[in-house]
């Protein structure tokens, strides 16, 4: 099985914490959609397995018009066998999802919404530069459910400027009231060069202390687990049977094709990423130019191993000693066993079942340090 990722690099505004490549101007959108559909047809053979998931990510896919969405789906249908398609996710900002738009979405293969709610506190939303209100989020979720969306994920952020544990709890409670199936709970990360970074260094915003951040993280894990959500990846929680199939592809080595500017693909052997400039991407694809619109790297054994560790250690599935022994040469498995032994002794990993190792609670908070010890 495999996945298809469609990148929509447009936003109506730039959020203060964002370091993604996205554009707030939409002049080039028409030629971008043209290039995107062309790339879909050019690369229909990139994956040799049928599609199980499609994912519209961004940027903000809900900046697309109904017509643009139709153009993209037509291209997909023309080039891919969708008979085994199980999950089609569409990322959206609440303020874009009016009834008409939702009615349209439900008429397409889209069966999962991922909503950029971020917080149910209007002050937070204002600080972050979001254009929706808490009320709007709630309404949109209800409307979507009314017309038949039964698989909804929301994004929530903790560690927001001036966020207290109480406020974070209130956000989580609110989410539980909404009968949603999935939550991506992210710690706000301050990326270099973002507006957020500047505001913090100018002391115009204060982010919670390390202790508070850990309290919020741990509270989310405990609270959501006690409400029936499994903590299946560092920042992801799902009701039973509602894990994101598409995102799980990234974490279990399933091939995926990414189309659009800056989209990444993986076919089991190489990783490939498209150029990030929207204009260059569009002009190369639309002009039949021989110029490459992507870069790629063939993964070495070490690369595969390091990715397995880095990604696997973040998941509930953990790291599998047998998998390592089967798939990697002895130098890797020996080193793996030695380090795992040491991590076990230090109570940083635990055996969740025969030959499967997962992070202990205290290690989840420092998972990069653990990955650093394990990688080659």
């Amino acid at each position: 099985m495999s996945g298809l990722y469609i990148h929509i690099p447009y936003c109506k505004q730039k959020c203060i914490y964002c370091d993604f490549y996205s554009s707030a101007t939409r002049e080039s959108k028409e030629s971008y959609i043209k290039a995107l559909t062309k790339e879909i047809s050019l690369r229909k053979d990139y994956l040799d397995k049928p599609l199980r998931t499609i994912y519209f990510g961004g940027g903000t896919p809900s900046t697309l018009s109904k017509e643009e969405i139709s153009l993209i789906f037509n291209a997909i249908k023309d080039n891919f066998d969708l008979s085994l398609l199980e999950e089609t996710t569409f990322e959206a900002n609440p303020e874009h999802l009016n009834k008409d738009y939702l009615d349209f979405l439900i008429s397409t293969p889209i069966n999962r919404l991922s909503l950029g709610t971020q917080s149910f506190d209007d002050n937070d939303l204002k600080t972050l530069g979001r254009k929706h209100s808490s009320l709007e989020s709630i309404e949109v979720i209800r409307n979507a459910q009314k017309i038949g969306f039964y698989n909804i994920s929301i994004d929530l952020m903790f560690n927001l400027p001036s966020m207290s544990l109480e406020k974070w709890k209130a956000n989580l409670f609110k989410a539980m009231d909404l009968n949603i199936q999935h939550i991506s709970a992210y710690s706000l990360s301050v990326e270099e060069g973002t507006m957020l970074d500047k505001l913090i260094s100018k002391k115009r915003l204060n982010i919670p202390s390390e202790t508070e951040q850990l309290e919020q993280f741990n509270y989310a894990i405990d609270f959501l687990e006690s409400n029936g959500f499994e903590h299946y990846e560092t920042s992801n929680y799902a009701a039973k049977g509602f894990r994101s199939l598409h995102n799980s592809n990234y974490w279990n080595n399933t091939p995926y094709l990414g189309v659009g500017a800056s989209a990444h693909s993986f076919n089991g052997k190489e990783r490939r990423w498209n150029i990030s400039s929207i204009d260059n991407y569009s002009s190369i694809l639309n002009s039949n130019s021989k110029e490459d619109y992507f870069e790629k790297e063939i993964l070495s054994e070490k690369d595969f191993y390091n990715e397995y560790i880095m990604v696997g250690i973040r998941t509930k599935e953990g790291l599998d000693k047998n998998f390592v022994e089967r798939n990697f040469s002895e130098t890797f498995s020996k080193e793996f066993n030695k380090t795992i032994e040491s991590l076990l002794n230090r109570n940083l990993v635990e055996k969740s079942s025969q030959n499967i190792f997962t992070l202990t609670r205290k290690a989840i908070e420092i998972s990069n340090q653990i990955a650093l010890e394990l990688i080659a």
Partner: protein
């Protein structure tokens, strides 16, 4: 012999010695301007870049003056205090010296000390005011300084500019008219002074010499008086732009000698060359065995490079006999070498040459001087390394080397310089005004105090204007302690330092603070402590990492995050393990530069 003139140049760094020398070479057609890469005399890249002369050089010019052909031998001298012995030998090989002073800056400490050496050897001094083309030249004021210093008359001073070529002809005329021709007895037994040597990959060591008496022919059996070793003079010749072989050289000549010697150790600057069969009665006075003054451990960054490092240091020693080394090992840094240097600049040069010419990254430990430890049993131990210090109960007392330091500065900086020197345990010996706003301050100071961060501080408080020179004085008793740094209780030998009791507290505190900045957080708290014996005198803590988790890791993040992690892993691999603490290399280097 009457048509030979041997002279050297005395100048401070940046006063334009090399450029002016190049003008002399051009004017006498020794080189054409086409062949000239700026500053011919400095052949090491390092010398060109730093604008200083590390090795002595010599070059022969021919000049037709009033219808007569003259041979002018210029012996260039190193321009840094670390190399003052070499300077003294170059001076001993000459009858005259050009005293080059930058007309925009005036006399500097280095100039004065070298000038005194030249006067001691009765050299004829030709004062030259250089950089006269510059707007901010102060010819009257600087001339006054020169007149005051050497007691010449205003007319003796030649205005010049290496840049425009002003004064070049007048300088050549002065060399011929004012400097005496060499005296010496061609028929006496050979007596030649070695003033430098260089290593050549194909020919071995090439010695540069000046014949005082007698003659030297190709094929002669010769002997070096101080080492007692004898050789065959395979080739002798004079130093033009390229060496030119000659069948015979005699008293007054400056030239080179090739004997097939492979190591620089056998050729000591200041040694006397004579004939094996007909030796001279005594060696030329002034010979000193070169003694390293500053010691530091040099370790390969990558432990696998140890043999490579040994090979490289051996190679460097071939052309730099003043570098000494012996194997040493450190718990923190593994296997390396304890090296002896003439001074701090020499140490930096060696370090840089290892990196540049041999492509080896090294870690250098805190430098120290050599101490004489008097034990209770009456023995005297030479200690070159903090770890070599015996336990306190075996020590009767310790002596450390002192120097006489001379600093020349603008009057406005005197106050802060005095403060600095006193901080560095200096004892003010003399203070004289050279002119109304330039003073020379003379201090006696422990050498150990200047090997650390004295230069940088002096430069910064005087805005770069103060100049500094020193000479070894003697050993004096001192209250020294070994300052140790502990990480989570484990001593880090590579960070320990011998220091005066009074400095131990501030130094310990600063080292702990600096290390706190440089040691990355790990999964547990790291205690950084400074200790004297069992007494802890300073402490800092690097707090444990409590949160290090990436929020998002999706399809587009994997490659980038893997590479980031791999880069971190590489850094981790290069760190040195002390107990359970990982210490980055930068920590070992940065303690050399504390504020």
């Amino acid at each position: 012999m009457k048509n030979i003139r041997n002279f050297c140049i005395i100048a401070h760094i940046d006063h334009g010695k090399s450029t002016l020398a190049d003008r002399l070479l051009e004017f006498t057609k020794t080189i054409s301007s086409r062949d000239m890469s700026a500053q011919v005399l400095d052949d090491m890249d390092l010398e060109k870049e730093r604008g200083i002369t590390i090795k002595s050089h010599a070059i022969q010019m021919e000049y037709l003056y009033k219808g007569e052909k003259f041979i002018l031998n210029l012996i260039d001298t190193p321009g840094h205090v670390d190399f003052s012995y070499e300077v003294s030998r170059s001076i001993a090989a000459c009858e005259g010296a050009l005293l080059i002073v930058d007309a925009t800056q005036g006399i500097q400490a280095q100039t004065i000390s070298n000038l005194y050496q030249a006067l001691d050897h009765d050299l004829e001094i030709i004062p030259i005011l250089n950089k006269m083309d510059l707007q901010n030249a102060m010819p009257e004021e600087v001339s006054d300084q020169i007149i005051e210093l050497i007691g010449c008359s205003q007319e003796d001073i030649i205005p010049a500019s290496g840049k425009t070529g002003l004064g070049v002809e007048a300088i050549l005329e002065a060399i011929i008219e004012r400097i005496e021709a060499p005296k010496g007895d061609v028929n006496a037994p050979l007596q030649a002074l070695i003033f430098d040597s260089v290593f050549n990959n194909f020919r071995g060591i090439i010695s540069y010499f000046r014949i005082i008496n007698g003659t030297l022919k190709k094929g002669d059996r010769i002997k070096f008086v101080n080492t007692g070793k004898d050789y065959n003079a395979d080739e002798v010749g004079v130093l033009k732009l390229k060496p030119e072989p000659r069948p015979i050289l005699s008293a007054g000549d400056v030239g080179y000698l090739i004997t097939g010697i492979k190591t620089a150790k056998e050729v000591n600057v200041g040694d006397t060359i004579t004939l094996l069969d007909n030796p001279c009665e005594k060696a030329i006075a002034g010979f000193e065995a070169v003694k390293p003054m500053v010691f530091a451990g040099i370790y390969p960054v990558d432990a696998d490079d140890y043999e490579e490092l040994r090979f490289s240091i051996e190679k460097l020693q071939l052309n730099d006999a003043s570098l000494t080394f012996e194997p040493e090992s450190s718990l923190a840094l593994g296997f390396g070498f304890r090296c002896g240097f003439l001074g701090l600049l020499h140490m930096e040069i060696i370090q840089e040459r290892l990196t540049r010419e041999f492509n080896i990254d090294v870690i250098t430990t805190v430098p120290n001087v050599n101490y004489k430890v008097h034990t209770n049993k009456g023995e005297i131990l030479d200690v070159y390394n903090p770890s070599g210090l015996p336990e306190p109960n075996y020590i009767d007392f310790i002596e450390e080397p002192y120097i006489v330091a001379s600093i020349i500065t603008k009057a406005e900086y005197i106050g802060s310089i005095l403060t600095l020197c006193i901080e560095k345990r200096g004892i003010l010996k003399n203070q004289t005004y050279l002119t109304c706003d330039r003073a020379e301050i003379v201090f006696e100071m422990p050498l150990g105090e200047i090997v650390f961060d004295f230069y940088d501080k002096l430069k910064s408080i005087s805005k770069g204007y103060a100049s500094f020179d020193y000479h070894p004085l003697d050993f004096k008793p001192s209250k020294l302690v070994r300052l140790e740094i502990l990480l989570n209780g484990d001593p880090v030998d590579a960070l320990s330092a011998l220091t005066h009791t009074d400095n131990a507290y501030p130094l310990g505190r600063k080292m702990c603070e600096k290390l706190k900045e440089l040691i990355p957080r790990q999964q547990f708290d790291i205690a950084i402590q400074a200790a004297i014996g069992s007494k802890i005198i300073a402490r800092e803590t690097v707090k444990a990492v409590r949160k290090d988790v990436t929020a998002k890791c999706y399809g587009g993040d994997i490659s980038r995050k893997r590479k980031l992690l791999e880069k971190q892993k590489e850094g981790k691999k290069r760190m040195r393990q002390v107990g359970n603490v990982e210490v980055p290399q930068s920590a070992f280097l940065a303690v050399l530069k504390l504020d």
